[in-house]
């Protein structure tokens, strides 16, 4: 695990170095294009196109690097447990604890001191999931 994270960091450093070199070269080329234009009065389109392409590529690489890694499904979801008192109807929501299951007897009711039970266990739907499901049709 530590080996793979080390590899990842090294790859990122290479990427950053590559982007810096690309941006530097693009600016130097752009500067050259302007100097040529000032001195000789014509535009070196090839150099101009190359430097703009390199700048675009750098921007794309930066965007790719800033993108969140795709979820694989192993990320633990936010899970909640609702406890309910069968006597007074008191209800409370807390984070899921290992060993929780629906209809398990839970802690004492803070209102009537009767034992409560686990009424429901659910995961919070993430915004990304909701956004994907939203539609007007």
């Amino acid at each position: 695990m530590s080996k793979s994270s080390g590899d990842l960091r090294r790859t990122q450093i290479y990427f950053v170095l590559m982007i810096i070199v690309l941006v530097l070269l693009s600016f130097i080329t752009l500067l050259q294009v302007f100097r040529t234009y000032e001195k000789k009065g014509y535009v070196d389109y090839l150099s101009l196109a190359l430097s703009i392409s390199a700048l675009t590529l750098s921007a794309y690489l930066i965007l790719q690097m800033r993108m969140k890694p795709q979820k694989t499904g192993f990320e633990p979801p936010e899970v909640f447990t609702i406890i309910r008192c069968p006597k007074c109807g008191f209800e409370a929501t807390r984070k899921f604890k290992e060993g929780d299951y629906i209809l398990k007897e839970a802690e004492q009711c803070p209102k009537c001191k009767e034992p409560t039970f686990i009424y429901m266990i659910f995961r919070k739907t993430d915004e990304e999931e909701k956004k994907r499901e939203r539609h007007d049709l």
Binding site: Y42, V43, K71, E98, I102, L103, F122, T125, E133
Partner: protein, 375 residues
């Protein structure tokens, strides 16, 4: 000097050279596309599949790691389960021959029972002091890890065949189906996490509704891993059944319904089956719908048994279905699905009032994996 004069200052020779270079480039591109277009496309598709395959491999390895570490953390004997887990991940199930379909359900049931027994026995050997719920949860977890392994191997097989033969059509088919495969793989990964933590999954909505209905009544085990309770409801008697929880388990609802009907000699007015159903894209998760028939998924053994016995005694069948996406069925139950319980119970009561008389007996079966849901 403005731009117009800049363009004007370009010599005719320079203009000519640029035009010639552009024309040559276009011609070269055209020729390249004509002769090598499909090969380039194949290369691009192979690269895309390779990236997904890498992801599948990563998910398979992660699933294996989680399974091994969970068993190690529960086991007290300190034995390394890696070898046994690796053997189970490669375990294959061979379905019965269907050339002669007569008696196939009986054979199918036998093979499924043998497979289930084998997985549970293997878990017991790794953790001899585990309770039933732990054994069931770990068995489910190993099954999810096995599914991840099988998916990875199948995709890799077709990828390598496509690469070896450079067959456009093999690669195209694989690329077309890949988004669906990735979605299913992600669902299995989520299932593995839910089974590890013993959390209720979307498929457990049937047992959850049954558990709500049978709470407080006297229960007994009617078939393997299946419990039943006699519940007074709307002036009728409801026999409510579900798989025995809170361990991950689907029970034997088909056998339970068959036994109960034989016991009552068909004196049942209606069978109501509650299950999760795959939603269409665009439908809301947790939407409750009604239907007619036996709403039991899986290999078909339980469905067959209920259809057989219901036909024998001419008992009407109703289904209550809770719509869920493919990713929700095996992942921890989402709020929208959990919230559908009351709506489903209201519908069950309405069906009972409208289609049966007071004093009648009915069967209500909550179908699905009961992980994280007791009774």
């Amino acid at each position: 000097m403005d731009i117009q004069s800049t363009f004007a200052s370009q010599t005719p020779f320079q203009d000519n050279i640029v035009a010639v270079i552009l024309q040559v480039l276009w011609l070269a591109f055209f020729a390249l596309y004509m002769f090598y277009g499909q090969k380039i496309q194949v290369k691009i598709m192979l690269k895309e599949i390779e990236a997904s395959l890498f992801r599948l491999k990563m998910m398979r390895n992660r699933g294996r790691e989680i399974t091994i570490s969970t068993i190690k953390s529960i086991s007290k004997n300190g034995d390394d389960p890696t070898e046994r887990i690796d053997r189970l991940l490669e375990h294959v199930y061979i379905p019965p021959v269907n050339l002669d379909p007569s008696g196939i359900i009986r054979r199918l049931e036998h093979l499924i029972n043998v497979r289930d027994f084998k997985f549970k026995e293997e878990v017991k050997m790794m953790i001899p002091d585990a309770d039933d719920a732990q054994i069931n949860n770990l068995t489910n977890m190993i099954e999810a890890a096995t599914a991840l392994n099988q998916i990875y191997k199948t995709v890799r097989h077709y990828f390598l065949i496509g690469k070896k033969t450079s067959s456009f059509y093999i690669i195209l088919q694989l690329q077309m189906i890949l988004p669906q495969i990735m979605m299913e793989t992600k669902a299995y990964a989520r299932a593995l996490v839910a089974f590890k933590n013993g959390q209720p999954i979307g498929d457990g909505i049937g047992p959850l509704i049954a558990a709500r209905l049978m709470r407080g009544s006297e229960l007994y085990e009617i078939a393997d891993d299946t419990v039943i309770g006699r519940v007074p409801m709307e002036g009728r008697v409801a026999y409510v059944l579900k798989a025995k929880g809170p361990g991950g388990n689907v029970g034997k609802p088909g056998e339970a319904i068959r036994q109960l009907l034989e016991e009552k000699e068909g004196e049942i007015s209606r069978i109501i089956i509650i299950d999760a159903a795959q939603k269409f894209e665009g439908e809301k998760p947790g939407e409750v719908i009604e239907g007619t028939g036996v709403a039991i998924g899986g290999p078909g053994v339980d469905k067959y048994k209920v259809e057989e016995v219901a036909t024998k005694y001419k008992i009407p069948l109703s289904a209550i279905l809770i719509k869920e996406g493919i990713g929700d069925v095996v992942s921890t139950m989402r709020k929208e699905i959990a919230d559908s319980v009351n709506d489903a119970i209201d519908r069950i009561k309405r069906i009972i009032r409208e289609t049966t008389k007071e004093g009648d007996s009915i069967i209500i079966a909550g179908i699905g994996n009961t992980i994280g849901i007791a009774q």
